[in-house]
């Protein structure tokens, strides 16, 4: 297992694992909300090392996974029909739209560019005054300030050829939606460290009160995750439900106020459709009317129909923690990273892709098939 051989301090990890084993007396179901944490848990082999009583389920915190099909179709439409330079994070490229992915549209000749940062898209707009540039602005609270900042930059530069196609989602309403689902059996949450680095942790107090579940703000490294799980299990065993912060070296109670200012300059909270799930009230950001000129949704007349989701994909149930990737009949068979049916098989933060690449589950399926 990668974890024990490659991580520099297996001793510390072992101590945490021992401590978790000592503390746990009953089965508990804990959700890590963030896809980055899912990736780290699976890649480092932590799921196998945890005592059997601890059932980790994987949350909806993968921005690529929850971006609605219709928005991918819209991005492709802008690139193909409106002749814009469509810029995106690389992870979005392979996600299936209703007819094709951005990558396929690119191969057909659409000008689709993969960027590391939305600020690069503003530069492209500046250098190509005769072209329209749209950035496909997906992400959670961590990414919202960067996307908002790109709009502020464009505004400062007086650009009129830059806009964003925003698909921003928020963690606390997603936790609510997951808890409100009748099939949910989640008893504790690891909250996403970098989301809280921006937003702080105040938003979680009302959730803890309402649902009586521990929420532990947790980092991404193996030791962070083990510590976060231990803190959650300790609370559960004592019958407590509190907000705790494992990631104090990065996360302040109030978050990063400058970043929040930038978010609220450009965005306002709105209802959002989550791919595979449903419309969750007040669960995302949209561009404010003051900045409408930078909102691709308002700027372009995007004439496409709402296409139905692929019903074979159970991503919604996986992201609510009701099922696991291996429970999907298509996992590793019809659905693979090269040929994905659903978004969680594409993104490095998607649970299906993490299980496919790192969990060993795929060997079992190949054995069955051979």
């Amino acid at each position: 297992m990668k974890f024990l051989t490659e991580y520099r301090d297996p001793e510390v990890a072992k101590q945490y694992l021992e401590e978790i084993k000592k503390v746990v007396t009953r089965p508990w179901t804990i959700m890590e909300v963030c896809g980055g944490q899912t990736h780290s848990l699976v890649k480092n082999g932590i799921l196998e090392l945890l005592p059997e009583q601890i059932n980790m389920v994987h949350g909806p915190g993968c921005p690529v996974c929850v971006t609605p099909l219709n928005l991918i179709d819209k991005a492709i439409y802008l690139a193909e029909e409106k002749n814009v330079i469509l810029c995106s994070f690389g992870d979005m490229l392979r996600v299936p739209g209703s007819k094709r992915s951005l990558l396929e549209a690119k191969a057909n000749g659409a000008d689709i560019r993969i960027l590391y940062s939305p600020l690069e898209a503003v530069k492209i707009a500046r250098e190509n005054p005769d072209r329209e540039v749209v950035f496909f602005a997906v992400g959670f609270e961590t990414t919202a300030p960067a996307n908002a900042l790109s709009v502020i930059h464009a505004h400062r530069f007086g650009l009129t050829n830059y806009s964003i196609l925003a698909s921003h989602v928020l963690v606390p309403p997603a936790i609510e939606a997951v808890m409100e689902d009748d099939e949910s059996s989640i008893q504790g949450f690891l909250a996403a460290g970098h989301v809280c680095a921006i937003m702080g942790i105040m938003e979680y107090y009302p959730l803890v009160e309402r649902f009586n579940v521990p929420v532990v703000v947790t980092g991404f490294e193996p030791i962070d995750l083990l510590q976060g799980i231990l803190m959650t299990v300790r609370q559960l065993e004592k019958g407590e439900a509190k907000v705790e912060n494992q990631y104090t070296r990065i996360v302040l109670e109030e978050g990063n106020m400058n970043a929040q200012d930038i978010i609220y300059t450009v965005f306002e909270v709105t209802d959002r459709l989550w791919r595979g799930m449903e419309i969750i009230p007040m669960s995302g950001y949209q561009v404010k009317s003051e900045y409408a000129a930078y909102d691709a949704n308002q700027k372009y007349d995007i004439d496409i129909e709402e296409a139905p989701e692929n019903e074979e994909c159970i991503a919604g149930e996986i992201m609510k923690g009701i099922r696991k990737p291996i429970d999907c009949q298509h996992f590793g068979k019809k659905c693979k990273p090269e040929n994905p049916i659903g978004a969680p098989m594409v993104s490095s933060e998607g649970a299906c892709a993490a299980y496919y690449h790192f969990s060993g589950a795929i060997h079992k399926i190949e054995e069955q098939l051979s």
Binding site: R8, K43, G90, P118, L119, T142, P145, A259
Partner: protein, 95 residues
């Protein structure tokens, strides 16, 4: 995509007639630009956590080095910074 990577600020400059304050940040030798808009107090030689081209917090040196080494060992840094070189004829924009 939600990853934030620690790096060291090696220079700070005002670009576009002073409209934007950007830093050059070294991630184990890979140099990328990052905005300092969210942490205006950051100085040269500070270590900062950078997410999609924006520095989101200052971290101490030991912590930054430890995290960077972990991410590098796990192959995450390359995935994040050498964006999509694997894609067919990616017209990647670089400064």
């Amino acid at each position: 995509m939600c990853l934030a990577i620690p790096g060291k600020i090696i220079s700070i400059e005002h670009q576009f007639d002073g409209l934007v304050r950007m830093a050059k940040v070294s991630f184990g030798g890979i140099i990328k630009e990052a905005s300092l808009e969210m942490i205006p107090q950051a100085k040269i030689d500070d270590y900062v956590l950078v997410h999609v081209g924006v520095a989101i917090s200052i971290v101490d040196e030991a912590e930054a080095k430890r995290t960077f080494q972990y991410l590098e060992e796990m192959g995450e840094v390359e995935d994040e910074l050498n964006i999509s070189d694997f894609l067919p004829d990616a017209k990647t924009y670089r400064t």
